[in-house]
């Protein structure tokens, strides 16, 4: 079957780039929203890209002790079946 490679390249390359763009925009908006609802630490793009966990930049959850909270492996995920 003849393929229009110009169209295919557009669909593939632009499509992949747009998936990234959409999710980057969503990530930035959510980072900003997180800052808005948790004003304890100011939002900055520098924090967004420099901090590893992403949570410290927006968190209002101060862990008092050095020990981390106990981890519950069953948290929120109940069965082995795929949801989707």
């Amino acid at each position: 079957m003849d393929v229009d490679w110009n169209q295919a390249l557009q669909v593939g390359m632009i499509g992949f780039a747009l998936v990234f763009l959409v999710l980057v925009i969503l990530a930035l908006v959510m980072q900003f929203t997180g800052w808005f609802f948790n004003k304890s630490v100011g939002f900055s793009f520098k924090n967004f890209f420099k901090k590893g966990e992403g949570d410290e930049a927006v968190t209002d959850l101060k862990i008092e002790s050095e020990e981390e909270p106990e981890y519950d492996p069953d948290l929120q995920i109940s069965n082995g079946n795929n949801q989707n």
Partner: protein, 384 residues
């Protein structure tokens, strides 16, 4: 003819039908004995058996006055399952309402707590586009290639929705490939993860708990996400709209009954209908083609490339961020919720018993669902 009054199915048995009956039995075996995606593979397998029994008439379609014993796109459905297929899948009702149920079952907390993980969900879409080009090189049309590529997103309803829009004759093979490979995530992903990461990288420690996400944030997320994504990719509106509506029902706190129905009763009913429809499409005439085999081969390529894409993006991100992330969580960017995240958790524990990566991996995992729905919307928007 039995006693000259009853026509049995025996004369209508063909080698193709026998092959499909064996295929249906195999799916039942995988679902019941091996417990691989039983909620889907059992109805699909039984649907395959039902529809390949001669003269059952379940999938009969009439085209220009001629009766066909299998589904013909564009024909008039006259059998029980052909009607279900027509109104459920052709009209796109079932996959979209399944997305509503999925939204009601999904906790966006990990994404909201750590929005960077959305990027890993995008990275895993590499598999979709890699398989898209691979399918084109193998001679598939651009519409078929898009339907095959989306298998890499590891999202059943999205695969079915897109295939129905772009290449309806491939719906059986793409759906079965997607669900089969989703069930095989624990087998497919670990070797790829180990191939692309060093032991040291796999041992990178990440805090097991994410920050606490407020209810306000959880309520506002589906609204904001729907607006942003639909504004940028209007063709993704049906998938993203239903997904986010389902999540809003869950998080709003005032529609518990609706959220409960969407995530339980409705989801179960639709799962039965979807499984039967997909199985029912797999008549010998529709399924036994060389292209189906190629779709299965390309499906696993898509899965592998998606896993690789997520991992490599995570490694790339590590070059720029101070506090390193464990690159294995990128592998969870293929949707398959929560199986892919569980795989990452399991390998993480083996490599570093202090590591609990499950919640960290849930972020990319859920982002993968959003990314795949967005990619599907882009394919539809660009190709229809």
């Amino acid at each position: 003819m039995l006693f000259d009054v009853l026509e049995t199915g025996l004369p209508g048995i063909t080698w193709g039908a026998i092959a499909m009956l064996i295929g249906g039995a195999l799916l039942l075996y995988l679902g019941i004995v091996k417990k691989m995606e039983p909620l889907l593979l059992v109805p699909i397998g039984f649907g395959v058996i039902l529809v390949n029994m001669p003269f059952g008439g379940l999938m009969d379609t009439v085209v220009d006055g001629v009766l066909y014993h299998y589904y013909v796109v564009g024909g008039e459905p006259v059998g029980l399952l052909s009607r279900l297929f027509y109104y459920g899948l052709d009209w796109e009702i079932i996959p979209l309402f399944i997305f509503l149920g999925l939204g009601a079952m999904t906790d966006f907390g990990p994404i909201i707590a750590n929005p960077k993980t959305l990027l890993l969900g995008a990275g895993a879409q590499f598999g979709v586009y890699f398989a898209f080009f691979a399918a084109l090189l193998l001679g598939f049309s651009i519409h078929e290639a898009a339907s095959i590529g989306i298998i890499g997103g590891a999202d059943g309803p999205t695969t079915i929705y897109l295939t129905n829009r772009l290449a309806p004759t491939f719906i059986g093979s793409t759906a079965v490939a997607a669900y089969t490979y989703m069930a095989l995530v624990p087998i497919i992903q670990p070797p790829i993860i180990k191939l692309l990461t060093s032991k040291k990288e796999r041992q990178i420690y990440m805090k097991p708990q994410l920050r606490e996400v407020s209810r306000k944030e959880k309520v506002i997320f589906p609204v904001i996400a729907a607006i942003i994504i639909i504004l940028l990719v209007p063709a993704a509106a049906p998938l993203i709209g239903m997904f986010m509506l389902g999540n809003l029902l869950r998080e709003s706190g005032v529609t518990e009954r609706l959220a409960d129905t969407a995530s339980n009763a409705m989801m179960n009913i639709l799962t039965v209908c979807l499984g039967l429809c997909v199985g029912a499409f797999m008549t010998a005439e529709n399924f036994l083609r060389f292209e189906s085999l190629l779709v299965f081969c390309l499906g696993i390529v898509a899965f592998a490339a998606a896993t690789a894409g997520g991992i490599l993006l995570a490694k790339l991100m590590n070059l720029f961020i101070k506090e390193k992330i464990n690159p294995m969580i990128g592998a969870a960017g293929v949707s398959a919720v929560p199986m892919a995240a569980r795989v990452v958790q399991k390998i993480g524990q083996e490599e570093n018993p202090q590591n609990f990566l499950l919640m960290q991996a849930m972020g990319p995992n859920i982002a993968g669902v959003i990314g795949t729905a967005t990619a599907a919307g882009l394919f539809i928007g660009m190709l229809q």
